[in-house]
C-alpha cells in the first residue's frame, strides 16, 4: 500500500500559510498611501507598496521618510516609524505646519524628482490600486 | 477661391498711378506711413484679429455676393495684411488691387464693428489703405477729380466763386415768386446759424436750396449763408486719403462760420459731409471737439418741430419706410430723432429690418459712388441685400436724409425694379407745410 501524500501536502500548506500570514501582519499588505487623515479625497489614493518600494529603492533607513521635527524644521535624525503621518501632518494644517497632501506630494515627488526614478506625474501614482 | 485679382476693373486713374510705381517706392511710402501716421490702433488691429470671420454677415457686399473675398476681414486680408506681410515691398499690381478694394468695395459704413467682439475698426484700416494709395498717387479718376476741385475751389464740383452767390440769388428770386418776403441772407454776421450744403446742390439740385429757404422762412429763424468759399461742407479728400486737403476744407468751413460769428452750423441732408465736419476734420486739425457746434438737418428739423415752428397742412398719407444713413445714425445717434420727424410728417411708417444702428449701408457712401461710372455696377450688384430689404417693406416711398444714400438707393431701385422713390425730409416738409405767405 502506497503512503498517501496527504500529510506532506497538509504540512506544505501549513508552511505556506505561515509564510503568507507573516507579511500580512507587516506593511507588505500596504498597496496605497494611507488616506485616513483626509476627510475627503479628490483622487484615488496614491499607489504605494511599502516593502516592494523600499526594496526597489534600497531604502533601509526608515527616517528617510518617517522623519521627525525640530524647531519647526524637518529632522531626519529622528525615526518616527509607526506613527501615522497624519498625526503630525493634519489635512488642514496650522500656519507653519505642512498639511498632509503637501507632505505626501513633497515626500514622494520630491524624492522621485531628485533621484529621477519612480512616478512623478498625477496619473502614475493616483491610479486604481492593483487587486490583492 | 476668387480674390480681388479676378475682378479688376480698368480705371485710368488707378492704371496711371500704378504705372509710375516700383516695389521700392511702395515700400518707402508704406514704411513712412506706418511710422508716421499709424500707432497703437493699427498695431493692435493687425495683431489681434483672430480671423473668426464673424464680420462676414455685417457687410452688404458679402451678403449680396456670398463670396468670401467680400467680407470685411477679407478686404483687410487682401490689402493691409498683404502690405504688412511684405513690409510694404509689393508689386505695383498689388496696389491696384488694394485701391480697388479700398475705394470701391468698402463704404466705411462701420457696420462690421457691430460684429467684432474685439472692436476692430475695419473702416479705419481701409481708410489707411486709401491714405497709402493717395500717397502713392493711385486713386480712381472720378473721385480724384472731386479732390482736385476741392483743392482748387474749396468745393467739390468746380463751382466758381461767382457762380455760388449767383446760384443762391437765383434760388432766392425763384422762391420769392412763391414767398414774397423770403430771403437767402448772405454773410449776415451774428445770425443764429450758418446753413451749409454740399456742392452738388448748387450744381444740379438747386431745388433743395429753394426748399430749405422756404422752410427756414416759414419757421422764422435767423440764418445766413456764406457768399465765399467755405460754403461747401462736403469733403471728398477725406475719402481719397488726402488728409492735407481734407483739413484745409474743414478749416475753411469752420473759419467761415467763425467769421460770420454764428452760434452754430446747420448742415443739409448729407451724411459724409456731416462726418467730415463733425468727426474727422476736427481731429486732424487737433481740435478735440468742433470749434463751432454742428447740427445736422435731421436734428435741426426735430428742434423746429419741438418748438412748433413747422406746421403741416396734412400728413403724408402713403406708407413710407426709413433708411438710416451710416454717418448720422452709427455716426451720430440720430435714429430716434429721424423717426420722430418722420412720424410727425407721415401717417404710416413701415420699418425695414434691420434698422437704426444695424441698418444695411446704401453702398454709395464712403466715396464709392464718387468713383464714377467704371465702378457703378460694383455698388449696385454688391447691394442686392439692400434691394431685398427695401422690397420686404412693400412700400413705395423711402425717406433717406442723405445725398449719397439717395444716389445709391435710386440706382438700386431702378436696377432691381423696386417701384419706389426716395425723398429727403426737406422734400416732405416743403410738400406738407403751411405756406402762409404763399401766393
Amino acid at each position: 500500500m502506497k503512503r498517501t501524500p496527504l500529510i506532506p501536502l497538509a504540512l506544505l500548506l501549513l508552511v505556506a500559510a505561515v509564510f503568507l500570514a507573516v507579511p500580512a501582519m507587516s506593511q507588505q499588505d500596504m498597496t496605497t498611501v494611507p488616506t485616513e487623515g483626509f476627510k475627503q479625497t479628490t483622487r484615488l489614493p496614491a499607489v504605494f507598496a511599502h516593502d516592494a518600494h523600499n526594496e526597489k529603492a534600497a531604502l533601509a533607513d526608515c527616517s528617510a521618510c518617517h522623519h521627525g521635527e525640530k524647531d519647526g524644521k524637518r529632522d531626519n535624525s529622528a525615526d518616527t516609524s509607526g506613527i501615522p503621518c497624519s498625526d503630525c501632518h493634519s489635512a488642514q494644517a496650522k500656519p507653519g505646519k505642512t498639511p498632509l497632501m503637501r507632505a505626501f506630494h513633497r515626500q514622494c515627488m520630491g524624492c522621485h524628482m531628485d533621484k529621477q526614478k519612480g512616478p512623478v506625474t498625477c496619473g502614475d501614482c493616483h491610479e486604481p490600486a492593483p487587486k490583492k | 477661391m476668387k480674390t480681388i485679382a479676378d475682378r479688376l476693373i480698368e480705371d485710368v486713374g488707378l492704371r496711371r498711378g500704378v504705372d509710375r510705381l516700383t516695389p521700392e517706392k511702395i515700400q518707402k511710402v508704406f514704411k513712412e506711413l506706418v511710422a508716421g501716421e499709424c500707432g497703437a490702433r493699427m498695431k493692435t488691429y493687425m495683431e489681434t484679429c483672430v480671423r473668426c470671420g464673424m464680420c462676414a454677415k455685417a457687410c452688404h457686399y458679402y451678403m449680396s455676393h456670398k463670396d468670401p473675398s467680400y467680407t470685411p476681414v477679407a478686404k483687410v486680408s487682401q490689402t493691409m495684411w498683404r502690405l504688412f506681410d511684405a513690409d510694404g515691398k509689393v508689386d505695383p499690381k498689388v496696389i491696384y488691387e488694394c485701391a480697388q478694394v479700398a475705394y470701391t468695395e468698402c463704404n466705411l459704413c462701420r457696420r462690421c464693428i457691430h460684429y467684432c467682439p474685439l472692436g476692430i475698426d475695419t473702416g479705419y484700416i481701409i481708410s489707411v489703405v486709401r491714405r497709402l494709395c493717395h500717397k502713392l498717387g493711385v486713386t480712381p479718376q472720378y473721385i480724384q477729380d472731386t479732390a482736385h476741385s476741392h483743392s482748387a475751389t474749396m468745393n467739390q464740383m468746380w463751382v466758381k466763386d461767382d457762380e455760388w452767390p449767383d446760384t443762391l440769388q437765383w434760388q432766392e428770386e425763384e422762391a420769392r415768386e412763391e414767398f414774397p418776403g423770403l430771403r437767402i441772407p448772405l454773410d449776415v454776421e451774428g445770425a443764429d446759424f450758418m446753413y451749409s450744403v454740399i456742392a452738388p446742390e448748387p450744381k444740379f439740385r438747386t431745388q433743395l436750396i429753394y426748399q430749405a429757404a422756404a422752410i427756414f422762412n416759414a419757421a422764422g429763424v435767423s440764418w445766413t449763408m456764406p457768399s465765399t468759399p467755405g460754403w461747401d461742407n462736403s469733403n471728398m479728400a477725406m475719402f481719397t486719403g488726402d488728409s492735407e486737403i481734407m483739413a484745409r476744407i474743414e478749416r475753411a468751413h469752420y473759419e467761415t462760420a467763425q467769421r460770420l460769428r454764428v452760434k452754430r452750423i446747420v448742415m443739409g441732408e448729407c451724411g459724409h459731409a456731416f462726418r467730415a465736419v463733425y468727426d474727422v476734420g476736427n481731429r486732424w486739425l487737433g481740435w478735440k471737439w468742433h470749434p463751432v457746434p454742428v447740427v445736422h438737418s435731421v436734428d435741426f428739423f426735430w428742434q423746429l418741430i419741438q418748438e412748433g415752428r413747422i406746421k403741416l397742412t396734412h400728413k403724408y398719407a402713403e406708407p413710407v419706410t426709413i433708411h438710416d444713413p451710416c454717418n448720422i445714425i452709427r455716426g451720430r445717434g440720430l435714429m430716434e430723432k429721424l423717426r420722430e420727424v418722420t412720424h410727425f410728417l407721415c401717417e404710416n411708417v413701415v420699418e425695414m429690418t434691420p434698422n437704426r444702428e444695424h441698418n444695411y449701408c446704401c453702398c454709395a457712401g464712403g466715396g464709392v459712388i464718387n468713383c464714377g461710372p467704371p465702378f457703378k455696377n460694383v455698388r449696385i450688384v454688391g447691394n442686392s441685400i439692400k434691394a431685398e430689404q427695401l422690397k420686404a417693406t412693400g412700400v413705395h416711398t423711402l425717406v433717406a436724409p442723405c445725398h449719397n444714400c439717395h444716389g445709391g438707393l435710386e440706382d438700386i431701385i431702378s436696377k432691381f425694379g423696386l417701384n419706389m422713390h426716395t425723398k429727403f425730409l426737406g422734400d416732405l416738409i416743403y410738400e406738407l407745410m403751411e405756406k402762409p405767405e404763399a401766393e
Binding site: 479628490t42 483622487r43 505642512t98 498639511p99 497632501m101 503637501r102 506630494h105 520630491g110 522621485h112 524628482m113 529621477q116 526614478k117 512616478p119 512623478v120 506625474t121 498625477c122 496619473g123 502614475d124 | 477661391m1 500707432g39 497703437a40 490702433r41 498695431k43 493692435t44 495683431e47 489681434t48 483672430v50 480671423r51 473668426c52 470671420g53 464673424m54 464680420c55 462676414a56 454677415k57 458679402y62 468670401p68 473675398s69 467680407t71 476681414v73 477679407a74 486680408s77 464693428i113 457691430h114 460684429y115 467684432c116 467682439p117 474685439l118 472692436g119 476692430i120 468727426d279 481731429r283 487737433g286 478735440k288 445714425i329 452709427r330 455716426g331 451720430r332 445717434g333 444702428e357 444695424h358
Partner: protein
C-alpha cells in the same frame, strides 16, 4: 524623460511664467506708450463708462448683434473661453504642483468637472478647426499663424485630457502637456493670442468713440 519632466516643471516653468507676465506687462506698457505718442487724437476720446457698458454687452452671450447672428460661434466661443480660464486655474493637478513646490493652495474644481470642461475645450478646438477648413469666409482669411495657435491650444488641452485618463505613457504625456502649456503661456503676449491682453482695450476704445463721440451704441 525624468530629466525633461524636471526641467519642464522647474526652470522652464519659471521661464514660461516670467515671459508671460513680464512679456504681457511689457507689451501693455509699450502699447500704451505708443498710443500716447501716436494716437493722441483718439486717446482723447476714451470714456470708461461707455467702454464698460460695451464690454458688459459683449461678454453677455447673444448680447451683441454679432453674437446673435452667429449662434454657433457664440455658444462655442463662450464655452471655450470660460473653460479655457477655469480649467488651468482651478484644476487639482495644477494646484497640487503649486502646493507642493511653493506651498500655495486654493480651492479646486472636482476632477470630473475639470475633465468635462477640458474635453469641452478640445471639442471647441475641433469646431474651430472645422470652421477654418470648411467655412469659406474663414478659410479665406486663415494663415499659418492661425493654424499654429489653434494647434497649440488644442494640443495643450488634448494632452491634458489624455494624461488625466492615463492614456499613453503618463510621464511622456504629462511632460508634453506641461511643455505645450508653457509654450502657450509664452505665446500669449507675442502672438494672435495677445487679444487676451489687448481685446479689452480695442473694444473699450471703439465703445468710447461710438458712445461719447457718435452717441450711438456699438453692439
Amino acid at each position: 524623460m525624468h530629466a525633461l519632466f524636471n526641467l519642464a516643471v522647474g526652470p522652464l516653468a519659471w521661464l514660461a511664467f516670467a515671459l508671460f507676465i513680464l512679456g504681457s506687462a511689457y507689451r501693455l506698457m509699450a502699447m500704451r506708450a505708443l498710443a500716447l505718442k501716436k494716437d493722441a487724437s483718439f486717446v482723447a476720446y476714451i470714456s470708461w463708462p461707455h467702454a464698460l457698458k460695451s464690454l458688459a454687452h459683449w461678454i453677455t452671450p447673444f448680447g451683441a448683434l454679432g453674437w446673435r447672428e452667429n449662434p454657433g460661434v457664440t455658444v462655442v466661443t463662450f464655452a471655450f473661453h470660460i473653460c479655457l480660464f477655469l480649467v488651468p486655474l482651478f484644476l487639482m493637478g495644477h494646484i497640487a504642483l503649486f502646493d507642493a513646490f511653493h506651498g500655495w493652495s486654493w480651492p479646486a474644481l472636482p476632477d470630473t468637472v475639470a475633465d468635462t470642461l477640458s474635453i469641452v475645450v478640445v471639442a471647441a478646438c475641433l469646431y474651430f478647426l472645422w470652421r477654418r477648413i470648411a467655412v469659406p469666409e474663414v478659410r479665406f482669411i486663415t494663415r499659418t499663424h492661425d493654424w499654429l495657435v489653434l494647434a497649440l491650444v488644442g494640443a495643450t488641452f488634448l494632452t491634458g485630457v489624455l494624461a488625466y485618463h492615463r492614456i499613453g505613457d503618463n510621464l511622456f504625456m504629462t511632460t508634453l502637456h506641461i511643455l505645450c502649456g508653457e509654450a502657450m503661456l509664452v505665446a500669449i503676449p507675442f502672438t494672435r493670442l495677445s487679444h487676451m491682453l489687448f481685446g479689452f482695450f480695442s473694444r473699450g476704445y471703439i465703445a468710447s468713440e461710438f458712445g461719447s463721440v457718435r452717441h450711438a451704441k456699438d453692439w
